[in-house]
Amino acid sequence: MSTLAEEIKKPETLNGVERPNANALEHEAIYIMREVAAQFEKPVLLFSGGKDSITLVRLAQKAFWPAKIPFPLMHIDTGHNFPETIEFRDKLVEELGVELIVRNVQDSIDEGKVVEETGKYASRNMLQTTTLLDAIEEFKFDACIGGARRDEEKARAKERIFSVRDDFGQWDEKNQRPELFDMLNGEIEIGQNVRVFPISNWTELDVWSYIQKENIEIPSIYFAHKRNTFLRDGLIWSAEDDVVFRADDEQVEERMVRFRTVGDMSCTAAVESHADTIDKVVAEIRDSRISERGARIDDKRSEAAMEKRKQQGYF
């Protein structure tokens, strides 16, 4: 029987010289992962089951191979997940052999720490912040790795790679540490923690191209499928789940759709699409004329929506 060590794969050849691929963004992200493991006592990777966090997991695997990922994954579960995402999450964790921590927004609601929003635009997206901050305190995490990207939104464009949060989980955007060359300063006081964004410099297309090239498995809802949906404010919403509020006059219709993000179902709209393979999805994104967060209603609340949520500790 051959051992794992003997099965190490043959390298790629480029111009006759055997060298790793030249994806500068990937090398940067791996460097950041290793800095987290080296500089912090208790890091955690925040895992939502979305494509960005799945990409983070692959990068962490690459950074520490042949050792296991040296930190747990944590899912802040809104209870409003697409069922496909949860199935996917559990399978991935089993394959990786890493610890998964799940903390539920429902518990925060039951404990009276947060109040469920009501009405047409009710969402648990905001409520996640409290559950997250409580979990950070519970486990004394000093670094939380997240999949946020600077191209997603204007306030995120100013976020650092190592972003310090105070005792209250607050982001002080006016007092951020300068980040020079490759040097990452992870020095913090007890009670503070750092949010780490290894794919800060990736765009949505970079992430999709990476998933394509690496042949990474992702939840099925990212691919085009038939779904009962209804229209509101020019956006397409899933009519298959109770958590999405639908008024009686909002008519259900079957459409061929896919999701570009897999956040809280109640605030994640679908897009019409026939892209049912990764190659088609990449081609679609390449030609796309609507930004990814354009389908997230929570950002449209006001121009400063994201910045306000970030100051309060939102990821």
Binding site: K9, A157, D182, M183
Partner: protein, 415 residues
Amino acid sequence: MEVLKIATAGSVDDGKSTLIGRLLYDTKSMTDDKLEAIERTSKQKGYDYLDFSLATDGLVAEREQGITIDVAHIYFSTPSKSYIIADTPGHVEYTRNMVTGASTSQASIILIDARKGVIEQTHRHFFINNLLRVKDVIVAINKMDLVDFSEETYNKIKADFQELMKKRDYQDQTITFIPVSALKGDNVVNRSEHTPWYKGQTLLDHLEELDQKDIYNTGTPRFPVQYVIRPKTDDFHDFRGFAGKVYGGELNVGDEVVVLPSMTRSKIKDIYFYDKQYSTAPRRSSVTITLEDEVNVSRGDMLVKVGDLPTVDKQLTATVSWMDGTDFTPGGKYVLQHGVNKVLAKVDAIEHKIHPDYSGIEENVTALQMNDIAKVRLRLNKPIFYDRFKDHRTNGSFIIIDSRTNNTAGVGFIE
């Protein structure tokens, strides 16, 4: 895909954000919903043009004051390259942000208002790009529409800038002049009909044609060890991999290396990237290296090629750019982070302050304040393994951390 990081510098109202917005718009990188938001807000404000600066000025405070106060990162791509623009503010008091943006960039755009020409701010922008040794500098002479696309004005500004270039330290920098109108789109992505006298490239064409060798400063290979990988599994029981990023030049299997600071010699046995082995670790790759011999290596150590040793010393002279609200003073103690290595540093002396507008130096300085640049002497509690900044951009730089606040308080370039 190739990634090019670009820093921008310009004074308030030189049209930096507009230029970036124009690049996004003309390369069709701006999505419909973002464009609609800009149209809506431009209309609300009563403009008869699209205010592209709205695309980049992210923070509420910035929108209220109508200025950019921090570094923002903007992304666009063409079929051949991905671009990351660090939009850095140009106010006098924000030298720190400009230094930060330039430190991660391979190219830089300096904006000049054609009506104002080369001003004191331009001196500062050029000084910082020179200090940071940014390889490719584009001088975009903007608002050409407001000077009737005058060749004479353009030539006058170019001549003034060339006068300034005589003062620079870093001679290998490539400098290109382009007459543009960011607002109207001339020579940004599309060639202008209004400047038949200009025979050079548009801004985007210039960026597109930059080659890796044009934009990276190369040196000798340095491999600072970030993390030691010891899986201790049955399959990899004796595996001891040294994880890190290669800087300066490439490393190869079989290379004879010295481990610093122990000065132990060994040979590179294997180079891994994930679960594959390679014969070469190119510059800027994050790999894992194993050695032929059992050598004690930990984070902060460095692998270098035999016969190619850096300086190993506890004392150094450096140009420091101070970025903190608390003064930097002789006798002050700080944490110095050199790559991934941290040591304690004490300020021996401030030799002199350097005016970043090329107007000379100032001696007998007792303290440095935010945005000051000075030549200083530092003493360390442990030796670090460094090169001169002019020989090695990565291994010749460090950051200074104030251990009371943990803030990154300054950056240094070793002489």
